[in-house]
């Protein structure tokens, strides 16, 4: 028996079995304990509440929602709003981060210092404070409804949001979409053709400009051929507020600004470290080949830098998505605000709702990191 215990392999297995058993016992105890307490205190449990009427209204919703909708609809609206702000935030912060990151390495003293100042300032202020700051700035500086800033009677800006005309697609508008897709496909094909031509003959083919022309020109052509099938719903002041059009609320804008500006600092640093990690010889070789500084950045440095920066940028995208839950502070109706907030309070079923919410964030994070890991693997240097 003792000899068996001295066997390294047996001992290893024994310890693992003990640890797992211990874990299961604790998990079992917690589950029993919780179920028991819930029953003793007469708290309602189960998922039936998802089908009961919510009874409250949600300010902005990408899908139809009314107080008669169910808590399950609340969940869907919250999730969609989370995804919308995360998606917009990821795009905005990437553009901003790229510009700031490259500026941070500029040889121009002023640009360099400005970028450094931006990063140090916004990276070191808690993002919740920044959200509250932008929200109060938006509310305090913009005029009231009746004194809105008016741009050509179609765009209005006031402290209830930015109101823009909303396009309405009539029958026949499909051709515009089809034209756009055709133009994009043609652009992709041209791009590949240009690379092939370049590799075979060394000649440059202006694929980018031709594609751009196609992407703009083809849908425009379709628009006129089909007799202008797109009309616009213009916002107009009726009663208390502007009616019609599309509105970007102050809550959405403040959250988007704060998240993008905050996350951009980390992306900028990731890109800067990526660029600095590219061996100096690469840049020198590019110069020796006669590439201009812009060309060397575009064709030699950035492709390698991005490769190095991707893993930490992925992390920042996930952080941005998770940070969007701080919107509860300013009332943007995302998942935590309305589902893990209002719905939870109206039904009182904390365990179920928090469980669903946590699982959802976990799933979003896993999916995003899966997509980006795939992208990362594709972008990796292919060793030959």
């Amino acid at each position: 028996m003792l000899a068996l215990l001295r066997n390294e392999k047996v001992r290893g297995i024994l310890y693992q079995v003990l640890v797992i058993t211990g874990f299961l016992v604790v998990a079992y105890f917690i589950a029993i304990n919780t179920a028991h307490n819930i029953e003793v205190r007469g708290i309602k449990s189960g998922f039936g509440f998802l089908h009961s009427t919510a009874g409250f209204d949600i300010t902005e919703s990408p899908i139809p929602f009314s107080p008669q909708s169910t808590h399950w609809d609340v969940f869907k609206v919250g999730l969609l709003n989370t995804l919308i702000v995360a998606f917009a935030g990821i795009i905005l912060s990437t553009i901003l981060g790229l510009i700031i990151g490259v500026s941070r390495l500029s040889s121009n003293w002023l640009i360099n210092r400005l970028a450094a100042g931006y990063i140090e300032t916004f990276r070191n202020i808690p993002v919740l404070l920044q959200i509250l700051f932008w929200y109060n700035v938006v509310l305090a500086t913009l005029p009231t409804t009746r004194k809105s800033l008016n741009f050509l009677d179609s765009v209005f800006i006031n402290n209830r949001g930015i109101f823009v005309p909303n396009p309405i697609f009539e029958p026949g508008a499909w051709l515009i979409g089809a034209a756009l897709i055709a133009a994009l496909l043609a652009g992709w094909w041209l791009h590949r053709y240009a690379i092939k031509l370049h590799e075979a003959t060394g000649q440059n083919f202006p694929a980018f400009w031709i594609s751009l022309g196609l992407v703009i020109g083809l849908p425009l052509l379709a628009y006129f051929i089909m007799g202008r099938p797109v009309t616009f719903d213009y916002p107009a002041l009726k009663g208390f507020n502007f009616q019609g059009g599309k509105v970007f609320t102050p809550e959405f804008l403040a959250l988007l600004f704060a998240l993008s500006i905050y996350t951009a600092t980390f992306i900028a640093e990731a890109i800067r470290s990526g660029i600095e990690a590219v061996p100096k010889g690469q840049k020198e070789a590019a110069t020796a080949l006669g590439l201009t500084p812009m060309q060397s950045l575009r064709f030699v440095v950035l492709p390698q830098a991005v490769r190095i920066a991707i893993p930490s940028i992925i992390n920042q995208y996930l952080n941005l998505t998770k940070n969007s839950s701080l919107a509860a502070a300013i009332g943007y109706p995302e998942l935590v605000t309305i589902f893990a907030g209002t719905s939870l309070n109206q039904t009182g079923q904390a365990l179920e709702i928090l469980g669903i919410t946590m699982l959802t964030y976990l799933l979003i994070s896993l999916v995003v990191s899966m997509i980006l890991n795939w992208f990362n693997a594709k972008m990796k240097i292919k060793e030959r």
């Binding site: 028991h36 205190r41 300010t59 107080p67 109060n136 507020n241 605000t337 209002t342 009182g348």
Partner: protein, 336 residues
């Protein structure tokens, strides 16, 4: 395997004994009453410049602490927003929730809590800037409304606009302060909450005269303290402490004359103050439990006038909250 089963049986047993232990014993052992209050609502629960909590809801906790522990100051206040309050009570983080909370059927039956009698009869109202020139809530079609998330107010609002075939947009925030701030910044046209809350909010505004409270009251909001379900003794203590405050007013017993009243010839007064009978003992408290509550905190009328009455910035009249024999609805079952 057998062992594991035994272990879990013991564990389950341990849990049972734990949850059976009474809140009263816990409070006595801790020597302090844990009370959940509003984060800041003038007249009901607000920390003053010295950090001391004041208000009608706060005074209920003080009376309860005086009855149970003999000292009204032995309260630990936990400021909670509307969304946190029930979880805090369910999880045992607080012993009593005294936070302008409306007693409703759903809350009473599904949250595992019990409401211990109404401390303040309220109803939901609307406040608008005077400059809009609105006279009635029926003119509010299309308005944007600032509101606190997770309240009955939010549901009443949707019901009211729906039944009057009007449209609205609700902007919801976590705390009262955020709601008020957004309203003042012009993010919304209307502020809605319990009418007492509207009066309270207005006292904090820089130009209170620029805002009007509309005449319509669109709901019943009986605000009541709540305790956990399943501990009947503690529930009784919470109920009868509130009843004691009301009976004291009815009998004319105040914090000033409570010592003289001990010598009163009225049998119910004697029972209430513990001179005769076993009123305190029945609840597992000292005989003079309610005497201490009245001595240290005062009767319901004193509490009302001190916090929200005519001489406070809120200037709320007794209305529904007058005693039953003075035209109101505040009524206590007899101390017998």
């Amino acid at each position: 395997m057998k062992r594991l089963l035994k272990l879990s049986a013991i564990a389950a047993l341990a849990v049972t004994t734990l949850s059976m232990a009474g809140t009263l014993d816990d409070v006595k052992k801790a020597g302090v009453l844990k009370c959940g209050v509003n984060t800041g609502l003038p007249g009901f629960s607000e920390a003053d410049s010295k950090g001391a909590w004041r208000g009608l809801d706060v005074d209920y906790c003080r009376a309860l602490a005086a009855a149970v522990l003999g000292d009204a100051s032995k309260v630990k206040y936990t400021p909670l927003n509307a969304k946190e309050r029930f979880t805090a009570l369910q999880s045992g983080e607080i012993d009593v929730l005294s936070r302008n909370t409306t007693n409703t059927e759903t809350r009473d039956t599904t949250l595992g809590i019990n409401f211990a009698g109404v401390m303040y009869y309220d109803g939901q109202g609307f406040m608008v800037p005077k400059s809009l020139g609105i006279k009635s809530a029926k003119e509010l079609d299309g308005a944007t409304v600032c509101i606190q998330a997770g309240t009955t107010t939010e549901l009443n609002l949707a019901d009211y606009f729906r039944s009057n075939k009007m449209k609205f947009k609700a902007i919801t925030f976590d705390t009262n302060d955020q709601v008020d701030k957004a309203f003042l910044a012009g993010r919304c046209d209307i502020l809605t909450t319990d009418q007492s809350g509207l009066y309270a909010a207005r006292t904090k505004f820089k130009n209170p005269e620029k805002f009007v409270i509309l005449p319509e009251i669109i709901s019943k909001e009986p605000l009541a303290p709540a305790v956990r379900q399943g501990d009947d003794q503690w529930f009784n203590i919470a109920k009868w402490t509130r009843n004691a405050l009301l009976t004291a007013e009815e009998k004319g017993i105040t914090s000033a004359n409570v010592d003289e009243m001990k010598k009163s010839n009225d049998p119910e007064t004697k029972r209430l103050l513990g001179v005769e009978g076993t009123m305190g003992k029945n609840l597992g408290l000292d005989a003079d439990a309610f005497y201490r509550a009245i001595k240290q905190v005062g009767n319901y009328g004193e509490i009302f006038e001190r916090n929200v009455g005519a001489n406070t910035p809120l200037k709320i009249s007794r209305g529904l909250n007058a005693l039953w024999n003075k035209g109101g609805m505040q009524y206590s079952p007899p101390f017998r």
